[in-house]
């Protein structure tokens, strides 16, 4: 019991000395922290690439849908004319 109290007292004394030592140094601004440097080029390529791919895919799908509907329309109109 007595030894435990001695150990706790020693730890508290050590912690107090560390805190007081830091306190005397004051605020030191961190100037050597590495800042995040994100390259912009992949983002620009990504954005431009997405726009071109999205619009090209949309135009292609639109062209295919028109072709399908108009072929079907010609077919159905011909079947109506035959009757």
């Amino acid at each position: 019991m007595k030894s435990t109290a001695v150990v706790i007292g020693a730890v508290l004394a050590l912690a107090g000395s560390v805190v007081s030592a830091q306190g005397t140094q004051g605020f030191v601004p961190a100037t050597d922290i590495a800042k995040e440097s994100l390259p912009a080029t992949p983002l620009v390529y990504g954005a431009y690439g997405f726009v071109w791919v999205a619009l090209t895919v949309y135009v292609f799908l639109l062209w295919r849908r028109i072709g399908k509907v108009e072929r079907e329309l010609v077919d159905v109109t011909a079947r109506i004319a035959k009757r």
Binding site: V44, A47, E72, V76, T77
Partner: protein, 187 residues
């Protein structure tokens, strides 16, 4: 801002075309609701689809710019959130037209009007609320070396938008003609 600012030349014109498509859809939807005009319905559904296409471009290119400019991909900022909601309204318009069954055209027209009503709020949101997104003044105060390519980008996007809208209306018109032909064939 550096090279990442070049995203602006695609992002802003796409946003303008989204607003334009939403506006066209709203006007056509209103005409359809009051006059039951088939042409107005064809224009509305075509414009709604273009609002979704240009809207997805806005919602993808914006975060790519923001990652460099703000350090994050997305913020639940008023402009960004309202744009996302507006885009989702037009997606719901198309889903309603696709899966809504008979009579969904009238309900979809009302949804289209709601989407269009959001446009002015999305536009002025950056001026009224304190948001991270740049205000609308950015476009007016561009230096000449940026203003010229920006105007050219808007003009190109506008031409492309008109061409796509005309083509999409043609598809819708053919589709309606096909439906009528199928009905005539069955009768």
């Amino acid at each position: 801002m550096g090279v990442v600012q070049k995203i602006f030349y695609y992002h802003v014109p796409s946003a303008m075309m989204t607003f334009m498509a939403a506006f066209v859809c709203g006007v056509a939807s209103a005409v359809f609701l009051f006059r039951r005009s088939q042409l107005a319905d064809q224009i509305a559904v075509s414009a709604a689809e273009l609002a979704v296409v240009f809207g997805i471009i806005v919602l993808v290119t914006g975060p790519l710019w923001a990652r460099k400019a703000w350090g994050v991909w997305w913020l639940w900022d008023v402009r960004l959130t309202m744009t996302l909601i507006m885009w989702m309204i037009f997606v719901s318009y198309l889903l309603l037209r696709r899966f809504g069954g008979p009579g969904s055209d009238v309900l979809a027209a009302a949804v289209g009007l709601f989407g269009t009503a959001l446009v002015p709020f999305v536009y002025v949101s950056v001026n009224f609320w304190r948001t991270q997104h740049p205000t609308t003044d950015v476009v007016r105060t561009l230096p000449p070396e940026m203003a010229a390519p920006f105007r050219w980008a808007i003009f190109s996007f506008l031409l492309f938008f008109v061409a796509l809208l005309i083509t999409r209306i043609r598809l819708e018109s053919s589709r309606m003609a096909l439906e009528e032909a199928h009905v005539a064939l069955e009768d």
